[in-house]
């Protein structure tokens, strides 16, 4: 098992180097002068320019510069925002819980609806329910999130007035950010109604972001269930006289879950991409909105750090899924 873990981590190293190279290149490829972009200043006098050029190491060879960059990364120094002059890592860590909260809620929505829908569709293959589920699933998969989010706002916020239009909490409440997760912070704040307000703010963005994963999870569950239901041990379980519910819920589901869990893990990249749009529409103060604003402000240090951090998050999640998969299934662990 230890060998398996080490190989899997080893496989990530080339990718990680590639991502740092990409991030390193980004600020140097950006239009305009890299030094001015990094400092976030305009109309600098030549002396200060020369000083900064030396301080930032732009007068050295590219290989040296890359070495310095890696050294800074190792110390957790991702540079400073050219707009706010705050450390990029600090800004990211402040905003990231909002994005985690949103993506987890979206995934929860996708799994809670998608898993049973896929299971039911598989056990009733060819039925009206099966066809309808698959049709809705293709539709969900094709949904432009930014449009879907707007439709949800139009229907539930504007017409019905059930949910707020944007943000994470209504302005009437002030909650001390302890964990950064609004649902937790409002609970421990003890303010009446704050938790409900946070929940109501979360629902629509979570549904908007969770729709594509919902479609994927439903489809994947259905096909995994269909594969498993054809196996001999299912026939055996049926022959033993177990109730159909028991066969499906215990024997079939457990094995069908393995590919489904993998697919859920693979959704992380898509969720982060979707969060960029969802956060922009719902004015959700997370990492996605931060990155879009960084592009508009031409804040390249933030983009550089954001790329690196987003890629690291995706790699970490994929690695954990991989390891989990290996732990569950010995056949994976011992292959290769």
């Amino acid at each position: 098992m230890i060998r398996f873990i080490l190989t899997r981590i080893g496989l990530l190293i080339p990718t990680l180097i590639g991502v740092t190279l990409l991030a390193f290149a980004l600020i140097r490829l950006a239009p305009g002068d890299a030094i001015l972009l990094t400092a976030g200043e305009r109309g600098m006098d030549p002396e200060r320019y020369a000083l900064l050029r030396h301080e930032m190491g732009f007068d050295r060879s590219l290989i040296e510069q890359y070495g310095i960059y890696l050294g800074q990364l190792a110390l957790g120094d991702l540079g400073r925002s050219a707009y706010s002059h705050q450390p990029v890592l600090t800004e990211f860590l402040t905003l990231f819980p909002a994005t985690i909260e949103l993506t987890m809620a979206a995934m929860l929505f996708a799994v809670v609806l998608g898993l049973p829908a896929g299971m039911l569709a598989a056990t009733r293959r060819g039925s009206v329910f099966d066809r309808a589920t698959m049709a809705v699933s293709v539709a969900g998969y094709s949904m432009p999130i930014f449009w879907w989010g707007l439709l949800l706002i139009l229907a539930f916020s504007v017409s019905l007035g059930w949910t707020p239009v944007s943000g994470r909490l209504s302005l009437t409440y002030f909650v001390e950010p302890v964990s950064g997760f609004m649902l937790i912070d409002t609970l421990i704040s003890g303010e009446k109604g704050a938790f409900l307000s946070a929940l109501r703010h979360l629902i629509l963005p979570a549904v908007a972001l969770g729709t594509v994963p919902l479609a994927v999870v439903a489809r994947m569950t259905r096909s995994a269930m269909l594969d498993v239901l054809g196996e001999d041990y299912i026939r055996t379980a049926r022959a033993k006289g177990l109730s159909p519910l028991r066969v499906i819920a215990i024997h079939a589901l457990r094995n069908a879950l393995i590919p489904v869990v993998t697919v859920i893990g693979l959704q992380v990249g898509h969720l982060l991409a979707g969060a960029i749009l969802t956060e922009t529409i719902f004015a959700w103060p997370g990492v996605g909105k931060w990155l879009v604003e960084a592009v508009r402000r031409r804040d390249y240090p933030v983009l550089q750090g954001g790329v690196l951090l987003a890629a690291s998050v995706v790699m970490l999640v994929n690695l954990s899924i991989d390891l989990l998969y290996g732990a569950i299934n010995p056949r994976i662990r011992h292959a290769r």
Partner: protein, 303 residues
């Protein structure tokens, strides 16, 4: 009598001769009603794209000063003059959507051509040469796949500057790894087969082996990927347009149109709803087609 003999001969011939691969494919494909629906939608879209100038009643940039934010013809206050109503500066929405269809088809086609060309070439080289070449190419693809798709596109546009051609290039780079992966997997699968060994034995050159012997047999999954890539391209390009990083106004690109009229959403639902609907229907059509192609070409790929 003569007529009967004729029919018999025809029946016999059709029984004796196995159906051509294309006929067989069409038989499988036709059974999938979703895929046929998708294909029909796409054909309609292509027709609209080609004849946009003739179908659209007005120029997409023409402003009617007397008709700002007019509702669609069927809604209250609408008139038959503007079928889908007008936007905030009095442009005919129907004409803009029609021209948007042309743009979306061009975007999809360009992105697929660029990504397919480069991706298939990389996958072919990686699969054929193996070793360090394969490792280098596939790790590069891994880096591209590790970044969330839209973020990668945003970063590329941030470097190149926001415009429609740059957005198309960015989206091409985003979908390229899928083509490389699919091609590489297919190439490796084919290389161990007897016909490749036979071609090698009779002295086929490496280039001939790659392009004439192996590549045609790898096209199935690539075609499926092309259809799915088309829908990704339209979706991502529209998302970039929505973020203001793709086509710039007044270009009638659907995502850009949607973003442009966002502030009027509460007063005029049509300016936001209809461009989004156009994106959704087009993306849906290509996804349905892709699913149908996958089932008909390669049942093993079915997920």
């Amino acid at each position: 009598m003569r007529g009967d003999a004729h029919t018999d001969a025809a029946t016999l011939a059709s029984v004796a001769r196995p159906a051509s691969p294309l006929a067989e494919f069409w038989r499988d494909f036709r059974r999938n009603s979703g895929a046929v629906f998708g294909l029909t939608l796409i054909l309609v879209m292509v027709f609209i794209a080609i004849f946009a100038d003739m179908i659209a009643p007005y120029d997409p940039a023409e402003q009617f000063r007397d008709a700002f934010l007019r509702p669609p013809a069927w809604a209250e206050g609408g008139s038959s003059r503007f079928l889908f109503g007008t936007d905030d500066v009095g442009r005919d929405l129907f004409s803009r959507l029609i021209h948007g269809a042309r743009l979306s088809m061009i975007i999809g086609a360009m992105v697929v051509v660029i990504a397919l060309g480069a991706g298939v070439a990389l996958g072919l080289v990686a699969g054929f040469f193996g070793g360090i070449v394969d490792f280098a190419i596939m790790r590069l693809m891994d880096v591209l796949l590790t970044l969330p798709s839209l973020l990668l596109a945003i970063v590329i546009v941030a470097i190149l500057g926001p415009s429609l051609p740059n957005a198309m290039l960015a989206v091409s780079i985003v979908v390229l790894p899928n083509f490389a992966r699919v091609t590489r997997a297919a190439v490796i699968g084919e290389l161990s087969k007897d016909y490749v060994t036979a071609a090698r034995a009779v002295g086929a050159s490496r280039l001939r082996l790659m392009f004439r012997t192996v590549l045609p047999n790898c096209l199935g999954p690539v075609i499926v990927q092309a259809s799915l890539g088309f829908s990704d391209a339209i979706l991502d390009a529209a998302a970039l347009g929505f973020l203001g990083l793709g086509a710039q106004p007044p270009t009638p690109e659907w995502g850009t149109m949607l973003a442009d009229s966002l502030q009027f959403v509460e007063r005029a639902w049509w300016v936001v709803t209809l461009p989004g609907l156009a994106i959704f229907v087009t993306v849906l059509a290509f996804n349905l087609l892709g699913d149908g192609l996958r089932d008909a070409i390669d049942p093993k790929l079915k997920t």
